[in-house]
């Protein structure tokens, strides 16, 4: 925020910080594990630290680290991460009406900072409150920057700690635990439930697929199953 920001803009920023605060507490262990996973996958310390600001998308970072650690082909790793992050296109579209009057630079900043959490907080706020785009942007920045600060702090701690964790602690198991914790909130109706269950069974069955393509193929099968389930509703 610039020093000359209107009081209402500053207030909106603070409200954004406050709105997301309870959520980012849960993000901390997730970021910590992403940092540890990067070190365990075999990234250099600089790479493990750079991964978060370069990608800034937790689930895709964890999945990429897992696949890098298993030496999957680069194309499979990149494709898997892109598929996981494809949902951001939906958020980008939803944020376009409230942010349409902002400069392209501000929209680029908003895009770079886009996360599930900041998006969720902002859509709730925008639906309830009538306010100018600059106030909305300030609220969004408050939420998104709090999220970014938490995520980067957590991954840095994870990278530092990760180099010293004894393997008998089985800390690598925290990675699937994070995904287990994230899958349930993603299941919101019959279609998503069918997609998740089908993808889980398919992934387990396709574990032996060459080039570690099992994950992508299983996700695809799950999505098709979800589409069929929705069609029958």
């Amino acid at each position: 925020m610039s020093a000359g920001a209107a009081p209402s803009t500053r207030a909106a920023f603070t409200e954004g910080v406050r709105a997301i605060a309870p959520i980012v507490i849960g993000v901390f262990p997730f970021g910590l594990i992403a940092g540890v996973a990067a070190v365990e996958a075999g990234l250099t310390t600089v790479q493990a630290l750079a991964a978060s600001p370069m990608i800034f998308a937790g689930a895709s970072q964890l999945a990429a680290m897992d696949l890098i650690g298993r030496s999957s082909p680069a194309l499979v790793i990149v494709l898997t991460a892109w598929v996981i992050n494809a949902r951001f296109a939906m958020y980008s579209a939803a944020l376009t009406p409230p942010f349409a009057s902002l400069s392209v630079r501000r929209r680029a900043v908003a895009a770079y900072l886009l996360t599930d959490q900041a998006f969720a907080m902002s859509t709730i706020r925008f639906a309830r409150t009538e306010e100018p785009a600059t106030s909305r942007y300030a609220f969004y920045l408050g939420s998104a920057l709090t999220m970014a600060l938490t995520w980067h702090t957590a991954t840095i701690v994870g990278v530092v700690v990760g180099t010293g964790v004894p393997p008998e602690w089985s800390l690598d198991f925290a990675v699937p635990l994070v995904f287990i914790a994230l899958v349930f909130p993603a299941i919101t109706d019959r279609a998503t439930r069918v997609a998740a269950i089908t993808a889980a069974i398919a992934a387990s069955s396709l574990r032996g697929m060459p080039l570690n393509l099992g994950l992508l193929t299983a996700a695809l099968i799950g999505i098709v199953a979800g589409l069929i389930a929705r069609g029958r509703q």
Binding site: G26, V27, P29, F30, L43, Q47, A51, M54, I55, F56, A59, L62, A63, A64, I68, G69, A74, I77, V78, A81, V83, I84, R87, F88, A89, M90, S92, A93, A94, L95, T96, V104, R107, A111, L114, S170, F173, A174, P176, L177, I180, A181, L182, V183, F184, A186, A191, T192, R193, A195, A196, A199, A200, I201, A203, R207, L215, A219, G222, L227
Partner: protein
């Protein structure tokens, strides 16, 4: 540990990062409206998180020893953690219970591993 070179990993990180930014910027850059996304694409995008997250989590539990095996510390701990995740929707509680159960099973020596 990976067999990818340091340079290759930089390339992978950059490709994921640039692609992810372009996905995030897509509509905000073009200023096209929400209804510009075909309904089928929206439906697919909504299903991706559930499908992908489940597809990542499951094999880590069912193939903890490398091949399909449900008599492992990780499958039991993961199943308990899944129950906690389902009931509480709390990331921290899920990790704490999952790791706790894993360590307890290993300490008790239930499964030879």
């Amino acid at each position: 540990m990976t067999s990818h070179s340091t340079l290759a990993i930089w390339g992978i990180l950059a490709a994921i990062g640039i692609g992810t930014f372009l996905i995030r910027f897509s509509f905000l850059a073009a200023l096209s409206r929400v209804d510009a996304i075909p309904p089928l694409v929206t439906r697919i995008l909504r299903l991706i998180p559930a499908a992908v997250l489940a597809a990542i989590a499951m094999p880590a539990l069912t193939h903890a020893s490398g091949s399909f095996d449900l008599a492992t510390d990780r499958f039991v701990a993961g199943t308990v953690a899944a129950f906690v995740a389902w009931r509480t929707r709390n990331v921290m509680a899920t990790i704490a219970v999952g790791m706790g159960v894993l360590w307890a099973i290993d300490a008790l020596g239930w499964f030879a591993s």
